[in-house]
Amino acid sequence: MIPILSRDDLKLALRRMLLIRRFEEACIIEWHKGNVPGHYHVSVGQEATAAGVSAAMDTDDILFSTHRNHGHVISRGADPGKSFAEILGKATGYGRGKAGTLHGAAPELNVPLSSAIVAGVLPIAIGAGYAMQVKGKSNVSVVMFGDGAMEEGAAYEAINLASLWKLPVLFVCENNGWGVARVPGQASYHAPNLALTELIDLAKSLGMATTTVDGVDLGDVHRAAKQAREQGVAGEGATFIEVRTKVWPGGQWPELVTGITDITRAWTGEAPAEFAHMVDWFKHDDPVLQVARELNATEIFSRDEIEALDAEVQSQMDQAVQFALESPMPELETAFEDVWPA
């Protein structure tokens, strides 16, 4: 469905989704060229989650993420050049090369932290909610995490505390089907390592408001996030949102298993010849194509407009990559800086 947003805000959401997609493609391409150090995680297939949640957020709301943070940071308006530079460990990155992909952040945009320890970020995020409650702020703390986090004790504690104290927190659990052990379990949708039948059951049994949404549907995500935000700000407590997205097979050792995204596939719904086997992805599982398709079908944007936007975004991303590649390495002595404020 189409989110209830102004035309400008819809365009911004689409722009952000396109930028996330091009960003992740650039990551994979540059990694194959040997330019990206270490192990990284992409959010292809999860763009609507990031964009939908962000579209419901205020600039003073705070967002926390995990090792799979690229999409979240971009969705809050981060400069793709600075974000990409950080992934390459350059001095011009948001973390000045200290953080890398695992700890992507954009502090000036209220994305202060990504923790790469599974579930480590949940207690931290509820703490920001607690601070907002103490200071009487009309804001929420939003934490984006994966279904794997629900396997850790920290998740239980964070959900219990947030529910107990009605903290203004949005728990956004992205269930993308990439549970670490691919053993079929009891859950109705992926989450193979949990004894829960429904992923939201834990939060529900702890008295929290819960909902499950379709992560391919920008409007569904946005509606749930908006409602949860309103409840949080009104003092009605936290909400646990499970967002279900389809497994994108290129995520394990990032590979372009669906090729470079061709936005015109949104109009045809057909897979390119070399990816013919990925029928479902091109027809209805790719959130970027799906959202473009819907915005066009409902005549909010023309195909030309969307294709032009995509070209603009691609160009922006190309420049961001250039910027990052040309950026200097950090000065070695800075390894000893920024340990402490004073």
Partner: protein, 321 residues
């Protein structure tokens, strides 16, 4: 200059700071006083009830909450309880809080202070007697303070509030009833204090061991041995200079530390003296620690294994022989 009990001075310092700064909140169920000294914490509850978040038994959860609250503008003091309970929250204390400033390239602050009333408290047995301070010194980016004297409480706590670093406050239940001067000469944050000047032997301690060292120095004085007693005050940052200057003077070093002996605070002091002060020592450093065993319940056994006042006296005498 009046004398004041450590337990009273502690609560007064926290209360004074909370009055000055609305952003300071207390998170946790242990409220500084542990089971036996809750009477001291009463004034805090009475005045600041709304700023004390009483928590369930969920250390991992509420320590993480404090980290997030600090990022979002508060200055939480987290009373975890006994040192062993810090283990429940270990990922947050050693692998989240200390990293935040560094990984944000200096843009995000995390002014959280974790507090434990730890150590060998007598009768705590194996699981409630942990002394995590040496392990915590491994977590680069985490400040570790250990006030031992009443007059050092306000300066050290204020120093933490001002430098806004994520901090672990090593407190000790056996410090509570000790009485000291309510003010001490000013000393920069991070510098160790020469509490007692002397010229025969250097004795270094911190927290409850500093108190024992001072009592030991009194006994030694009566026997004609003039000990210089140094209070480390902060373990991270650790002041090498004061210790080295003293060792240059005396040539003899005793370090008393309640931690388990291996990779302890005493190990660190002995090591940096061996590295930076080679040639200053006339005899090997005497390290005193709790024995390298889990902590037994029996008081008799515990006493036998602890770095007692008598053991400090003996160690100094061995060096002076």
């Amino acid at each position: 200059m009046a004398k004041v009990k450590f337990g009273e001075a502690k609560i007064k310092a926290v209360a004074d700071l909370m009055r000055e700064d609305d952003d300071i909140v207390v998170v946790g169920g242990a409220s500084f006083g542990g089971l036996h000294h809750q009477a001291y914490s009463r004034p805090l509850f009475d005045e600041f009830d709304a700023r004390i978040l009483r928590t369930p038994i969920a250390e991992l959860g509420f320590c993480g909450l404090a980290v997030g609250a600090a990022i979002a503008g508060l200055k939480p003091i987290v009373t975890i309880g006994t040192g062993s309970f810090a283990f429940e929250a270990w990922p947050q204390i050693v692998n989240e809080a200390p990293n935040i400033r560094y990984m944000s390239g200096g843009q995000v602050k995390c002014p959280v202070m974790f507090h434990t009333l730890g150590g060998i408290r007598l009768g705590g047995a194996a699981q409630h007697s942990a002394r995590p301070q040496a392990m915590l010194m491994q977590a680069a980016g985490l400040q570790v303070i250990a006030p031992a004297l009443s007059g050092d409480l306000m300066p050290l706590l204020k120093g933490v509030m001002e430098n806004e670093r994520p901090t672990f406050w090593i407190d000790h239940s056996l410090l509570t009833e000790e009485e000291w001067d309510d003010t001490l000469p000013e000393l920069p944050f991070g510098k160790a204090r020469i509490v007692r000047q002397g010229s025969d032997v250097t004795i270094v301690g911190y927290s409850i061991d500093l108190v024992r060292c001072l009592h030991a120095a009194d006994i030694l004085a009566a026997e004609g041995i003039n000990a210089e007693v140094i209070d480390l005050r902060t373990l991270a940052p650790l002041d090498h200079e004061t210790v080295l200057n003293s060792v240059a003077k005396t040539g003899l070093l005793v370090v008393s530390d309640e931690c388990s002996p291996v990779c302890s605070v005493a190990s660190e002091v002995s090591a940096f003296v061996a590295e930076e002060g080679f040639g200053l020592l006339r005899k090997p450093t005497q390290r005193l620690n709790f024995a390298n065993v889990p902590v037994p319940m029996s008081a008799v056994l515990e006493e036998h294994l602890m770095p007692t006042i008598d053991k400090v006296v003996t160690a100094a005498k061995v060096l002076m022989a």
